[in-house]
Symmetry: C2
């Protein structure tokens, strides 16, 4: 049984490890968790003693198999709750993250099973992120930033940055999951991109914005 705080650390570590594929450093964790490195050292020892990660002094941590499974369960809950908030309660996609950060810690397998069923076993959350199934499996669809797309008409399938600030900007310019989008021109000077949204609105977006709007290749 992990505590609330341990769950948050483990999830952050899992994300930083790119799905458990690489070692994660103390300072990275401290930055992600907005705590001090000294606190991280304490916590990684605790998580290591619970076999969620392996820890080697001065080197970093790796997520173990049980750690991955635990992290995926938390991510599953987070994304199911986000889906519930948008699909059933009528939240906007920029309002759900903080509430889901709380809801993801509720302990009840029955609740998650019933919620999943109630939502019709969704495979992606409101930001286009995949929802792991109860065994931690999910489809990794190749998603690329629009700037790297071919220039043909495609469809927005996810956003990389889910911060309210970015999502609210997307609301303003009419970009959402499922909208048609086409890259008309890439400006060499500042790497900004001219796009056509929904086949009718033309506008320029910054390099940063373009890197956070993803389409399926």
């Amino acid at each position: 049984m992990l505590s609330f705080t341990e769950e948050n650390y483990l999830k952050a570590i899992y994300h930083l490890s790119a799905g458990g594929t690489k070692a994660v450093l103390t300072n990275e964790i401290a930055e992600a968790m907005e705590t001090k490195p000294a606190s991280v050292t304490d916590m990684v020892k605790r998580l290591a003693s619970k076999n969620m990660i392996t820890y080697e002094r001065y080197y970093g941590v790796n997520v173990t198999k049980p750690g991955k499974s635990e992290a995926l369960s938390i991510i599953r809950k987070h994304r199911l709750w986000e889906t519930f908030l948008v699909e059933k309660l009528g939240f906007n996609w920029d309002e759900v993250h903080d509430v889901a950060e709380q809801l993801e810690h509720i302990q009840s397998p029955l609740l998650i099973q019933k919620l999943d069923e109630f939502l019709g076993f969704p495979s992606v959350d409101p930001h286009g992120d995949p929802i792991p199934d109860k065994h931690g499996k999910f489809h990794i669809t190749r998603q690329i930033p629009i700037a790297d797309s071919s220039g043909k008409k495609t469809v927005v399938s996810a956003v990389k940055d889910s911060s309210p600030a970015f999502l609210q900007y997307l609301n303003k310019i009419g970009v959402y999951i499922g909208v048609s989008i086409q890259v008309l021109e890439k400006i060499e000077f500042d790497r900004s991109v001219e796009i056509m949204i929904d086949g009718k609105r033309k506008l320029y977006i910054s390099k940063e914005a373009s890197e956070n709007i993803l389409v399926t290749e």
Copy 2:
């Protein structure tokens, strides 16, 4: 901002004070919270310093106006979540309490507003308990144990004990909120009661059981 633990203490104190009407003793709180009296003394000092209760040494605590409002908000959340679990996710009424104990601590006024709306602004939870509105107001319908009812046909409107053990027994004998019920005879020997359920099933229930099945007078 109260912590998770402070919220639980405050709610217990509010319930023990019968809605904020009487003083509550240290040992009562310790028993309700399954902690030791020494821990309660510490906690009531904290809650008093946050103006949720007033505390007088060796005498007990009283819930303040802001304390009542806070407690009612937690109770509102608890009962809305229980209603959600039963009405929308298909939980049985004996499965919801422990999950609601967790969900009641989620902090998001928007969430509760939207949940209330999604549920159609319910006024009672799955156990017949009233749900306070956003201002903490609720209807106190006079509910009495069936044994004290007139002997005419009435309708079960609430249960006093919401423990899984009791609710599962009620499931077994076919008693639920809204079922028709009639007291046929009160046995003098052990105060057990013969009842007619749904106009067709006759059976005996114990004094204890009869005291926990409530009808509207």
